[in-house]
């Protein structure tokens, strides 16, 4: 009995001791003079990526603007959009933060972002003409500017030097050459594969699988009004879709599990000399190094632009990236705008080079880290790159439908034509309504 009473007492004390500090508001460290406190939202949660990238920009900004304190809110990527949306809906958005190029339409439409036309017109730092025009236009919704580009990316084709030499092939420049090279390299009983694409999240089918070839072929999945699906009726789009599916079903040059293949497995196959080709963006170097620190560009792998599409004869690539915007309802709009402008300096982009992105403006291309010839092929590819699908507000739905279509063919054994028809119908009659 005493023992039990003792236990209960201890527990109650524990509870009291734990709840009281929790209930008390955590006091701020006393500040000598009042500083404006603004929050900056970012999806970069890995500490070294953050330290090498945005943290440096924020530190310098605070040094040059001693009246402002910036607190970073790092939200995991998979939950980023949802968290910012919730916060905005509850009236507590961050003051300034990253906006995914695929979400800017939604947030602008919901009224969460501040219009920036006047600010940009007056700014001496942000020169609209210096930016990649395609990417700048993403920030324009219904004629008004709601964000400015922060970083962009595109994808290129990586070729394993050893396997290519062994098979006696050169990096492909057309789709047929790609199939040829993959066929010669593919030896499944030895666990060596021709080519692979990541497919384990809802966006990868759109951006990393179909998107590159779609853009290279000049095809469109949705018409520019965003009201109809055109993947079946646009022959160029259908051709691209058919091509990526047939790599798995007809030419059979891919590893097993293409319906749910992770990027890290692909990278591992690649560094271990088991994969001839892969498609990736500027972030690939860090990933490959983590697996094999001595795996180097030019020595072990080559990078070439995505092979030219048969309909256009030109290369193309999926373009993605991040924008930065100021949120409505922020009590410190002026300071937030200052931070936004600071991020848009070419020097800031040079500081952020470690964070998986390419600079969205040309003035930064020749600065610091971007002088590394590693980036050359990406800069070559950028003019041909665009977002693979029109950026409609229903984009998450659309991306999911594209993933489903791909999986239907690759994992479910459906035919390409019927799947194309299904996808177009799904888009036009359900998703884009």
């Amino acid at each position: 009995m005493k023992r039990q009473a003792g236990v209960v007492c201890v527990l109650l004390l524990l509870a009291a001791g734990t709840v009281c500090p929790a209930a008390a508001a955590a006091p701020d460290g006393a500040q000598a003079r009042p500083r404006i406190r603004i929050t900056y939202a970012t999806p970069i949660t890995q500490s070294d990526l953050f330290e090498r990238g945005e943290k440096q920009v924020l530190t310098r900004f605070m040094a040059e603007n001693p009246d402002v304190e910036v607190v970073a809110r790092q939200i995991p990527f998979d939950n980023y959009d949802m968290q910012v949306l919730l916060a905005a809906r509850a009236g507590r958005p961050p003051d300034v933060g990253r906006v995914n190029h695929s979400t800017v339409q939604t947030w602008a439409g919901a009224g969460y972002l501040v219009e920036l036309d006047d600010f940009v017109a007056r700014s001496t730092v942000i020169d609209p003409n210096d930016y990649w025009p395609g990417f700048w236009n993403i920030c324009r919704i219904r004629g008004k500017l709601y964000a400015v580009p922060l970083g962009t990316d595109c994808r290129v084709l990586l070729c394993h030097v050893g396997l290519f030499r062994q098979a006696g092939v050169r990096p492909p420049r057309t789709w047929n050459e790609l199939v040829e090279a993959a066929r010669k390299i593919h030896r499944p009983h030895e666990k060596v594969y021709g080519i692979a694409f990541p497919t384990n999240n809802e966006w990868s089918a759109t951006y990393d699988v179909i998107g590159n070839f779609l853009v290279a072929n000049g095809g469109r999945i949705i018409d520019d009004d965003g009201t109809r699906g055109t993947i079946a009726s646009d022959p160029r789009a259908a051709e691209a879709f058919r091509f990526v599916c047939e790599l798995v079903t007809v030419h059979k040059v891919c590893p097993p599990g293409m319906a749910n293949l992770g990027g890290d497995v692909i990278e591992s196959l690649f560094v271990n000399g088991r994969l001839g080709m892969m498609v990736s963006g500027p972030w690939v170097r860090a990933g490959l190094h983590r697996l094999r620190p001595d795996f180097e560009w030019k020595i072990h792998y080559d990078m070439v632009p995505i092979p030219a599409g048969p309909a256009t004869g030109r290369s193309g690539s999926s373009q993605g990236g991040w924008l930065i915007g100021v949120f409505q309802g922020s009590p410190h709009r002026e300071a937030a705008l200052r931070l936004l402008e600071y991020f848009s300096r070419p020097e800031s982009f040079a500081l952020m080079a470690g964070a998986e992105n390419l600079p969205p403006r040309r003035a930064a291309m020749s600065l610091g880290p971007f002088q590394d010839p590693f980036y050359q092929v990406f800069f070559e590819q950028l003019p041909n790159a665009r977002p693979p699908v029109a950026l409609v507000p229903q984009l998450p739905n659309v991306a999911r439908a594209i993933q489903r279509a791909y999986q239907r063919v690759v994992a479910g054994g459906a035919g390409v034509d019927e799947t194309l028809a299904w996808l177009e119908n799904e888009l036009t009659n359900h998703l884009l309504r």
């Binding site: 439409g109 999240n201 097993p256 319906a259 749910n260 507000p393 489903r404 479910g412």
Partner: protein
Amino acid sequence: MGLLLFTPALAVIALLFILPVAYEIVISLYRSRVYEASDPFVGWENYRRLLRGGDFPESLGNTLWWTVGSLIGQGLIGVFLAVLLMRNLPGRGAIRTLLLSTWIMPGVVVGAIWRWMFDPIAGVLNALLAGVGLPECDFLGRVDTALASCIATNIWRGVPFWLLMVSARLQAVPQEFYDAAAVDGASGWRRFAHITLPQIRNIVLLCAMLSFIWTFNAFDLIYALTRGGPDIATTTIPMLIYESGIRNGHFGEAAAMSIVFLVLMAAAIAVFVRTSLSRQEEV
């Protein structure tokens, strides 16, 4: 007096149930999308959309398979282990703790790990299969095996719950019952069937009900494993609600789905409670 004791629990009900239900019912009658500035009243339109087909029916089927399969697997293994671990042999405490320790990981992490273990190329399960000469399998990438694999993962995840709950109940069964039965010459199996089973019947039913509700509602595991794919082979209703409401920002449609879902489940629960409450003596 009874009501007074029950009041804190009632407060919980208000917060977690009445508030959201009211909110959801109201929102479900509007075309509310995050990127549209106005929320026009559309009455039953969101509900009609559900009935028109699309993914809802198949998701319901998936959800039922997922739930019932997980339930049966978890229950059988959990009860078996609990009964087994009643014997006071050396190492029992440590074994039980070890078996419970697999419970303490967030769903996202469990999903990430198992997804990797299932991987057809770099996964350890396929390596095991290859090691014993069996053909390798693309567990999560094929329409016919994806849901079963998810269920297997969920069984693994849920066993500790059953183990704990049934163990706690068995601990309070007086040893005399078993001793008396042994004196009367009853075999192990008869002791199990006639003493153990009746004693744990109520807790097993409750765990089944709770497990049913939680599994029905869970989606973090499946999401991490397959994102609902391939195609919609592993898409369950909570995932549809998440995709619709939070990822796409279609609040009205998601709310309608939530309400339909709620009604379906509420009926099952009402039946359970009726049977559970009526058969006990009131004091």
